[in-house]
């Protein structure tokens, strides 16, 4: 029986928190804003059909950090959602979704700090409702204001490496470039820019937005991203819980592959079976 090369060569022993799962992730910690995570998957909570599915998805994904939002009380999900997230033991990352100016985003972050009791913020400042693309000028302005106000700022940004560098220089705790527009599922449209951005900054890079399926998440990690943030790809999948597990494994697989070092691309084939001793038949 062929066992050697196919058998897992890493210990399956559990280590660290339960949410770290069986893959020894504790040996590869993800440090963000001074906090250490074993999961490299950040999950958005929007778009799920029920709180029961939310809990299953959070648990299947292994995530330790989930995004949440603030809305008028009449439209808000309420305390039951907060109870589910509290039960799952995840850290909360409030967003500023829907804000189109630095002023709106800063105020929303300050309100979120009141409501959620955290100074972490996923900073979103979008240019318009149709593309939901970041407004670079307002984004940098808001980031500077929030850093000065003591926030741990995680900005959703374009895949522009220079803007990413400006955000990191402004004191952001990470840079979160889009792969493609929010909810589009178009994957990573400019992998080269993501790799360039990874080179440009020393803070974590979190691929945020555009992920459609597991291979997109794996690619993000292979490009050198430190984590992946996704919502719609899981919450709007036909089977959200199954997709959550797929994303978890894709992020882990992509991270391992990045560390393992991919082979160079070649124009022509290169045999893996030695030509030495080839019989003359």
């Amino acid at each position: 029986m062929l066992k050697g090369p196919l058998a897992p060569h890493r210990s399956q022993a559990r280590s660290g928190p339960l949410q770290g799962g069986p893959h020894e992730e504790a040996a590869d910690p993800f440090v963000l804003g001074g906090e250490t995570f074993t999961s490299r998957l950040v999950l958005g909570t929007g778009g799920l059909p029920s709180l029961e599915v939310l809990e299953e998805v959070v648990r299947a994904s292994g995530t330790q950090l989930v995004t949440v939002a603030l809305r008028r009380v009449e439209a808000a999900a309420g305390s039951s959602m907060m109870e589910v997230l509290s039960r799952c033991g995840v850290r909360l990352l409030p967003n500023t979704a829907g804000c189109q100016t630095a002023r709106e985003a800063v105020l929303t972050a300050q309100l979120s700090r009141e409501a959620f009791g955290t100074d972490w913020v996923k900073l979103e400042v979008i240019g318009d409702d149709r593309t939901l693309l970041p407004d670079a000028v307002e984004l940098l302005d808001a980031a500077e204001q929030l850093v000065a106000d003591g926030f741990t700022v995680l900005p959703y940004t374009t895949d522009d490496p220079i803007l990413g560098r400006r955000l990191a220089d402004a004191g952001c705790a990470a840079v979160m470039p889009l792969g493609s527009p929010i909810g589009s599922g178009l994957g990573i449209r400019n992998p080269h820019n993501i790799a360039l951005l990874r080179e440009q900054v020393s803070v974590p890079v979190v691929l945020d937005a555009g992920i459609g399926t597991a291979s997109d998440a794996a690619l993000a990690m292979e490009l050198g991203c430190d984590a992946v943030l996704l919502a719609s790809a899981v919450t709007r999948a036909r089977e959200p819980v199954q997709m959550a597990l797929a994303m978890r494994q894709a992020v882990e697989g992509g991270r391992l592959a990045r560390g393992a070092g991919r082979i160079p691309r070649r124009w022509h084939a290169e045999a893996s079976t030695s030509m030495a001793g080839l019989p003359d038949l």
Partner: protein, 68 residues
């Protein structure tokens, strides 16, 4: 004697001297993690009882929800 303010976009009548705390009690709908903006500024929870509302004030009363 009552005053009119705008709460979450809708005109709302409150008794004269009403505070942010009174408004939150009436409008929070069971949410315990509420945040309030008054005329574009945060009102910290510690100041809710001391903050009296004036005619024409614009308030946003917000609570947690799901989001990406």
């Amino acid at each position: 004697m009552s005053i009119q303010v705008t709460v979450n976009g809708a005109p709302t009548d409150l008794t004269d001297g009403a505070t942010v705390a009174v408004l939150v009690a009436a409008r929070s709908g069971g949410h315990d993690r509420v945040a309030v903006a008054l005329n574009g500024d945060v009102v910290p929870r510690s100041r809710w009882t001391a903050t009296e509302l004036s005619p024409g004030d614009r308030l946003e009363v917000l609570a947690p929800t799901a989001g990406g």
